[in-house]
Every structure is written in structure tokens, then in C-alpha cells.
């Protein structure tokens, strides 16, 4: 009788590991499919061969037709970075969302509701419409979006700190900032020329069209630098979920770790959305979907929701590219179309 809890916990742990392994397999399969999408015809099997051939040119024996069609060049030059960028962006945004929801103990917390996404849009709009920014050239829009996102995060943190770090205060401050930045963006759209306004609108849709290997490199470096420490501190997030006082009594340096978590989550968010535009929805929904399936232990919740985010974003991007032949629907729009019904479905049957 006494060990039923232990057995159940072991089962739960197995379920969590299984869920993560399953997601990795789905992601690999989805990546293979994603690479086939485009004007040059490639089968899923060909795409894996081409990926491997790029990694190990000597070990892989390419069939002649793939050499003729320059499959390796197409995959590595045009398609693969977009697929990886989708995976990295979905992974990072979802983990950032999980961390924000965990630290703030609020299911509404996400890069959108904290104003970080709209700050990035505002920064991008200033760069696009006014041509003003900290950097010039190709970094003008990206640099502005990144800086504004970090500025918003710092502002929320500063205000909450002044008022004593309550999680509700932070969310209210974030929503207030969101409206402020949206208002500035609207003003710029009102003042800007039609061409500039169109550019702003397209930026705000969020898309993977502008991905490249160097951009993927930057995002990957930030994710690799930030996510492992977050995972290592996962117990702190678990403890914070029980309230600040309990967390402190369990040995968590509450204020320092909240600040660290928020900074890390903001940084990951900012570095992704400055390249993609606003894909904020993933950060809200992927953590919820994951929590409904495998529960709240952040040691598994963080990596699993990252993977759910990656699957969602990559899946949405695939659909966005094939749904209307000849046109690519911005992935920010597709994620909402794809994710919200699924989210509502899970939500409705949760207690059934």
C-alpha cells in the first residue's frame, strides 16, 4: 500500500521520457518531410540521404539522379537552414514560455502578454518606417527588434522590482507595455508610406522566409548557452510554483533566481523573434499542451514543451507552404490556425 505512490511516480517518469522520445521521432520525421517541400522534387528518403551526404561527404554514396539534380546543394543551400531554424525557434519560444509561466505562476504569461513581442514589433517598425536604429544595413531591423524586446523585459522587471516583484504586477506591467508599444507601432503605420506599412505588417506576421545559416548559428548559440542552465535549475522552477515563501524555505534564492529565469527567457525570445517577427503564440500554447499531457515537473516539462513547440512551428510552416500552391502563408498565422483548435480540444477534454 505504501509504495503505490512510488510506483505511480516511476510510471509517470517513464511516461514523460516516452513522450520526449516520441516527440524527437516525430520531429525527425517532420524535418524529413519539410525538406522535401519546394520546387525541386525530392522524396523524403532522398532528403535524409542528402542531409547525411552534406555531413559525411565521403561516407555516403549518392545515386546519380541526386548528383544530377544537385540535391545536396539544394537541401543544404536552401532548405535545411529553414527547417532547423523552425525547430530552433519553436524550441526556444516554447521553453521561454514555460519558464515565464513557471516563474510568474500564471498561465497567461508569454512573450506576447509580457509585451516583449510587441516591443520587438515596435522596434522593427521604427527601423522600417523611420530608418532609425542602433545598427545600420541588414542589422537595422533585427538589431532594433532585439533591443526593444530586451528593453521591454528590463522595464517589466524594473517596475516589478520597485513594487516588490509580485507576479501579477509583472503581468499587468507587461500588458500595459504591450498596449504602449502597439500604440507606437500603430502611430508609425499611420504616418508611414504604404510601402513601409506593408513591410511592417509583413514583419509582424512572423515567418521563416528570412532564415539563413548565420542567423541559425546565432540563435543556436544563444539556445545552447541559455537552455542547459535553465534545465539544471528546473527544481527551482518546481519550488517557485509552490509560492515564493515555500520556495525560499526549500533553499531557492527567490529574487535572484526569478530575475535569472526572466532574463534567460527574455533573451531567448528576443533573439528568435528579432529574426522571425512575432511568432508569440507558440510560447503560450506549447507549455500548456505539454503540461496537460505530462504534468508540471519542469525537469521534463521544459525539454518536452520545447519539442512540442518545435513540432508545432515546423508543422505549421510545412502546412503554410503547401496549403495555397504558389504562396507561403506566414507561419505566425499558421501556428495560430493549427495550434488553437488543438489547444481548445485538449482543454475541453481535460477533465473528461
Amino acid at each position: 500500500m505504501t509504495d503505490t505512490g512510488e510506483q505511480e511516480y516511476t510510471r509517470l517518469t517513464e511516461k514523460r521520457v516516452l513522450f520526449i522520445v516520441g516527440l524527437i521521432l516525430i520531429l525527425i520525421a517532420l524535418a524529413g518531410v519539410a525538406v522535401t517541400l519546394g520546387s525541386a522534387n525530392l522524396s523524403v528518403a532522398d532528403s535524409y540521404v542528402a542531409i547525411l551526404a552534406g555531413l559525411f561527404p565521403d561516407a555516403v554514396d549518392l545515386p546519380d539522379r541526386m548528383i544530377e539534380s544537385n540535391a545536396v546543394g539544394i537541401v543544404w543551400g536552401w532548405r535545411l537552414h529553414r527547417v532547423f531554424f523552425g525547430i530552433a525557434a519553436g524550441f526556444g519560444l516554447a521553453i521561454a514560455g514555460s519558464v515565464m509561466q513557471g516563474v510568474l505562476r500564471n498561465p497567461l504569461a508569454s512573450p506576447f502578454t509580457l509585451g516583449i513581442a510587441s516591443a520587438a514589433s515596435c522596434g522593427a517598425s521604427i527601423a522600417i518606417v523611420l530608418g532609425a536604429g542602433v545598427f545600420s544595413g541588414s542589422l537595422l531591423v533585427i538589431g532594433n527588434a532585439f533591443l526593444f524586446a530586451m528593453l521591454a523585459a528590463a522595464a517589466i522587471y524594473g517596475m516589478a522590482r520597485l513594487r516588490g516583484m509580485g507576479s501579477e504586477a509583472m503581468i499587468l506591467a507587461g500588458i500595459a507595455l504591450m498596449y504602449l508599444f502597439s500604440a507606437i507601432t500603430s502611430l508609425l503605420q499611420y504616418l508611414g508610406t504604404a510601402a513601409k506599412v506593408q513591410e511592417v505588417v509583413f514583419w509582424m506576421f512572423g515567418s521563416l522566409d528570412k532564415s539563413s545559416w548565420p542567423k541559425l548559428g546565432i540563435v543556436t548559440i544563444v539556445i545552447v548557452a541559455v537552455i542547459p542552465p535553465l534545465l539544471w535549475r528546473a527544481w527551482d522552477l518546481n519550488a517557485l510554483a509552490e509560492g515564493d515563501e515555500v520556495a525560499a524555505s526549500l533553499g531557492v534564492p527567490v529574487e535572484r533566481s526569478m530575475a535569472g529565469f526572466m532574463l534567460a527567457a527574455s533573451l531567448v525570445t528576443a533573439v528568435i523573434i528579432c529574426f522571425t517577427g512575432t511568432i508569440g503564440f507558440i510560447g503560450l500554447v506549447a507549455p500548456h499542451i505539454t503540461r496537460m499531457v505530462i504534468g508540471t515537473d519542469h525537469r521534463t516539462l521544459l525539454p518536452a514543451s520545447g519539442l512540442v513547440g518545435a513540432v508545432l512551428l515546423l508543422g505549421a510552416d510545412c502546412l503554410a507552404r503547401i496549403l495555397i500552391p504558389g504562396a507561403i502563408i506566414p507561419v505566425g498565422i499558421m501556428t495560430a490556425f493549427l495550434g488553437i483548435p488543438f489547444f481548445l480540444y485538449l482543454f475541453m477534454r481535460r477533465d473528461a
Binding site: M1, G5, V246, L250
Partner: protein, 258 residues
């Protein structure tokens, strides 16, 4: 050497002084009941003793100055049971109690950790719903879970803020008797804020009566709980009866205002 020694503890929220020069010691094996009217500073004192709040004065845990200890070090010596509030998380009971092992574990959960959780669950008689979600429990069940977490934490000092407030009469006695027994068996020092004077008189070795942030009196229940003391603390007239060596307070009416 006392396990817990507090010397001149004072604390103020901004300008509002809540605690004023509280001093007491507590030995291993003892249960100290914190009693006193609403707003007398019981909860604040308990938070200060775990340095959730930073008071003036000195606190020594097992002879060590608390200020020289890191948060995780304190967490291995002191466990805290908050006042029962609504469930914040949707973790399972097992996971919630497992959280008590956080000061001892690095990342992965060992067999020993799971064993300690199971032991704590069975001590509190809640093994049967170990896998239920904490936000689906009744208030009383949840309160037992919080006590179980503190026991799984393996700390020598236990601070409990109203650990029995949501419990029915049988569960109250069970939880208090358990704390009393564990204090003796494991050499714990237990500090519990309790509203029910008679429960406190029966299961605490000593009582500390707080009023307006000061110590109104401390000592063994049988000598401390007199009609005069009850009047001074709560402003009520009461009869104090002797139930086999344990004082039993029967409230009669509010005192005439002075």
C-alpha cells in the same frame, strides 16, 4: 545547547512594527506553541525564523548564526509549513512531498528520496492518494500534504503556521500527536502557531504568547494559562479547568473594555 535560539527578534513592514524584541530558546525534542490573537505577529515570527523575512536580532540554529548560512544550508536544517492557502500548482501529492527533498538532491531523484517521501506520506496517512493532483484535494488533505513535505525535508527544526486550521477534530489531534511524537523520537524542535488554545495546551511542551508583537508570557501550559493571562492576551473572561494535568480553557464572555 538549544537547537533554536532567538534573541531580540524585531521586524517592521515599512514603518509598521510587527515584532518587538522576541527572545526564546527551544531544545531538541520540544514542541513550542505560538499563541496569541490575530495580528499578534505569529506568522511574521515564523517567517523570520526561516529567514523568509530578514529581522533584526540574532537567530542561532544548532549553535550556528543563521546569517552565516546559505539558503540551501538553512533549508537542510529548517522546514516550513505555510498557512494553508489554495493550491498553487497542479503537481501530484507525491511530487509535492518530493519537493521537500529539493535541499538534498541535485537533479535526479534517488531511491532514498522516494523512500523518504513514501515514509512521510504514510506517517500522515495519505499514501492512498499519493497520485492525486494537489489541486483536487480538500483543504484538510492538502494541509496534511504540506506537513508531509516538511517531514520529508528531514530538517531538525520544524516551523508550522496553523498546521491544523483546516482539519476536523480527529485530524487535528492526529497531526498534533504526530508532531509531538516525532519531536521526541527524532529529536526535532517544533514551533507551531496554533489558534486553538486547548489543542496547544495538550500537545505543546511550552507555549509562547504573543500580543502586539511582544512576548506576553512563556512557559509550560499548566502554569502559563491562567484566567488573568487569557484576559491579557485575548480580552476575554475565561475559566481554566484542569483536565488530568492539562489546562482547559473555557471562554465565557468578552471582558469589559478598559
Amino acid at each position: 545547547m538549544p537547537l533554536l535560539r532567538a534573541q531580540g527578534i524585531s521586524f517592521a513592514y515599512n514603518d509598521h512594527r510587527v515584532l518587538d524584541g522576541i527572545s526564546f530558546t527551544l531544545n531538541a525534542g520540544e514542541v513550542l506553541g505560538l499563541v496569541g490573537p490575530n495580528g499578534s505577529g505569529k506568522t511574521t515570527l515564523i517567517r523570520c525564523l526561516d529567514r523568509i523575512l530578514a529581522p533584526e536580532g540574532e537567530i542561532h540554529l544548532d549553535g550556528r548564526d543563521m546569517l552565516s548560512m546559505s539558503r540551501p544550508e538553512i533549508a537542510r536544517v529548517v522546514a516550513y509549513v505555510p498557512q494553508n492557502s489554495g493550491a498553487l500548482s497542479s503537481a501530484t501529492v507525491f511530487e509535492t512531498v518530493l519537493m521537500g527533498r529539493r535541499p538534498h538532491l541535485r537533479w535526479s531523484v534517488s531511491e532514498e528520496d522516494k523512500q523518504k517521501v513514501s515514509d512521510a506520506l504514510s506517517l500522515l496517512g495519505i499514501s492512498a492518494f499519493a497520485s492525486r493532483r494537489i489541486d483536487r484535494l480538500s483543504g484538510g488533505e492538502r494541509q496534511r500534504v504540506l506537513v508531509a513535505r516538511a517531514i520529508a525535508q528531514d530538517a531538525r527544526i520544524l516551523l508550522l503556521d496553523e498546521p491544523t486550521s483546516a482539519l476536523d477534530i480527529r485530524n487535528r489531534i492526529e497531526v498534533m500527536a504526530l508532531l509531538f511524537r516525532l519531536a521526541g523520537e527524532r529529536g526535532l524542535a517544533v514551533v507551531a502557531a496554533i489558534h486553538d488554545l486547548n489543542l496547544a495546551a495538550r500537545y505543546c511542551h511550552r507555549l509562547l504568547i504573543l500580543k502586539d508583537g511582544r512576548v506576553l508570557g512563556q512557559g509550560e501550559p499548566s502554569s502559563l494559562l491562567t484566567p488573568g493571562m487569557v484576559r491579557a492576551a485575548y480580552g476575554i473572561e475565561a475559566a481554566v479547568k484542569d483536565e488530568v494535568g492539562v489546562p482547559y480553557v473555557v471562554p465565557l464572555r468578552p471582558s469589559e473594555s478598559d
